[in-house]
């Protein structure tokens, strides 16, 4: 099971993989801000396309990505549908107008603006997913920690990321083993045969030993770290964090530009004057 994670522990060798942790974390954070701040398809679509190219270039495990993608697309479509059901005329709020091109009854009307809004929203959510996906498929947990540290996050918090990830496969293996031993003792794991309340009770049976043994090792691990000087200095360096290459410098520069643009956009468009309009390509009226 330890090979089935989406994130790679071993650094890959594509272009994006080779960027340093701080470059990737910065770009990721700025892209998240960028994608969150607007409902303008002209801004969102390029990011969608670029991150899609990024994911493809990283050669991820497609079998797994496909499963996750289809789940994400399904849930987002479902969400969009619910949005429509909740308020079919939501488009008026965003586009200041309503062009009804048909209706099922008095409530379920079909305004172009609502469909436009829902479409943009779907793309926005999918882009948000793609931004996460390129990040996950190109970074290692250690680079993630190093990147966070470079942003000024205290290293004790960064350690949570790398160290936590170090023990995930161990804990996952313990979980499997404990589950097996409980199954042999008579815990029924088959979803079809047990009620939810019953399954919760059985979960407790697995959790007690899992929690106790997991936290049992805390002191030993901490000893091993103290003996190697952890927590001694205010600063630390990272083995995995290589010096900036030219590609890193270019990316960091672009990230900075994007960041400045985002700040300007948020100040000028989102905060003042307060504006809820979104860009519509055509005036349907």
């Amino acid at each position: 099971m330890k090979d089935k994670f989406l994130i790679n522990i071993v650094p890959g060798d594509t272009f994006l993989h080779k960027l340093s942790g701080s470059t990737k974390v910065r770009l990721f954070v700025v892209l998240l801000v960028f994608i969150t701040m607007s409902f303008d398809l002209r801004l969102i679509l390029p990011v969608f396309v670029l991150t899609l190219i990024g994911v493809i270039s990283a050669k991820p495990n497609w079998k797994q990505v496909k499963v996750i993608m289809s789940v994400v697309i399904f849930f987002n479509l479902l969400n969009i549908f619910l949005f429509y059901v909740a308020n079919p005329t939501v488009g008026e709020y965003w586009c200041n107008q309503l062009t009804i091109i048909g209706q099922l009854n008095n409530y379920f009307v079909f305004p172009v603006e609502t469909f436009w809004y829902l479409f943009v929203r779907l793309i926005k959510m999918l882009t948000n997913f793609m931004v996460s996906l390129w990040f996950i498929t190109t970074i290692t947990p250690s680079e993630f920690a190093a990147g966070l540290y470079s942003l000024g996050v205290p290293y004790k918090v960064c350690t949570v990321v790398s160290l936590g990830f170090r023990y995930i496969p161990d804990i996952a293996r313990d979980y499997e083993n404990i589950k097996i031993s409980m199954q042999l003792r008579g815990v029924e794991m088959d979803a079809k045969r047990t009620k939810i309340s019953e399954r919760l009770k059985q979960m407790v049976l697995i959790l007690v030993p899992l929690i106790i043994t997991s936290f049992d090792r805390v002191q030993t691990i901490a000893n091993g770290m103290d003996l190697r000087g952890y927590g001694r200095n205010k600063k630390r360096t990272y083995y995995c964090e290589h010096e900036s290459t030219n590609a890193d410098k270019i990316f960091q520069f672009l990230t900075l530009l994007l960041f400045i643009f985002s700040i300007g956009y948020i100040m000028g468009v989102n905060i003042w004057p307060p504006q809820t309009n979104m860009w519509c390509p055509i005036d349907w009226r």
């Binding site: 996906l133 936590g164 919760l200 407790v204 007690v208």
Partner: protein
């Protein structure tokens, strides 16, 4: 030994705390991926939510919140659902609040968890979910993603309901079980 409220909330952040938070986050990620039952869109009935309770019980509320936040990040890294800061923040707030056990005198490591603590825990679990998913997450959703309040509330409601179910129906028995398992027996005599 009396500890100040501040240290109970913030934790000590020595090496064992860092390790425990990391292990807690790892446990959270594992349980989120393997130990959950899907009930509604975006909502899974998961025992992962019990992890911050334990981390809080052992190390304080802030460590619980951090473990919960990064646990969520791990679940995303493993499963790749994409980051949703509205939900991660809600979870961290929830982790902080349900991790406050030492503040009201429950101490799992010393076997202290009784009916009084269970009642307080249950009340906090309900309130914490109302705060986290009734206030924090919806506000964040609207601010960040311009969501529809009705739907956000529907999702929040489902999430809260499943969290409360897990926290109370599985959490209280778990806390009892752990407290008893950690308790040192006194006056043991062979029969």
């Amino acid at each position: 030994m009396k500890k100040s409220l501040g240290s109970l909330l913030l934790g000590k952040w020595d090496t064992p705390t860092v390790v425990a938070v990391a292990i807690g986050a790892a446990l959270f990620g594992v349980l989120m991926n393997y130990g959950s039952i899907t009930v509604f869109t975006n909502t899974r009935l998961t025992t992962a939510m019990l992890v911050p309770v334990i981390v809080g019980g052992l190390f304080g509320a802030l460590p619980a919140a951090v473990a919960c936040f990064f646990g969520n990040v791990f679940a995303d890294l493993l499963g790749g659902w994409g980051y949703w800061f509205d939900w991660s923040t809600g979870n961290a707030v929830l982790g902080f609040l349900v991790g406050m056990l030492p503040v009201y005198g429950a101490n799992i490591k010393e076997g202290k968890f009784d009916v009084k603590h269970a009642v307080i825990f249950a009340v906090i679990a309900v309130l914490a979910n109302m705060v986290a998913f009734g206030v924090v997450t919806p506000i964040m959703t609207v601010l960040l993603y311009g969501g529809e309040l009705t739907i956000t509330f529907m999702q929040s409601f489902a999430a809260s309901l499943s969290n409360i179910t897990v926290l109370i129906l599985a959490g209280i028995p778990l806390l009892y079980a752990l407290a008893k398992r950690y308790a040192k027996g006194t006056n043991l005599s062979r029969e």
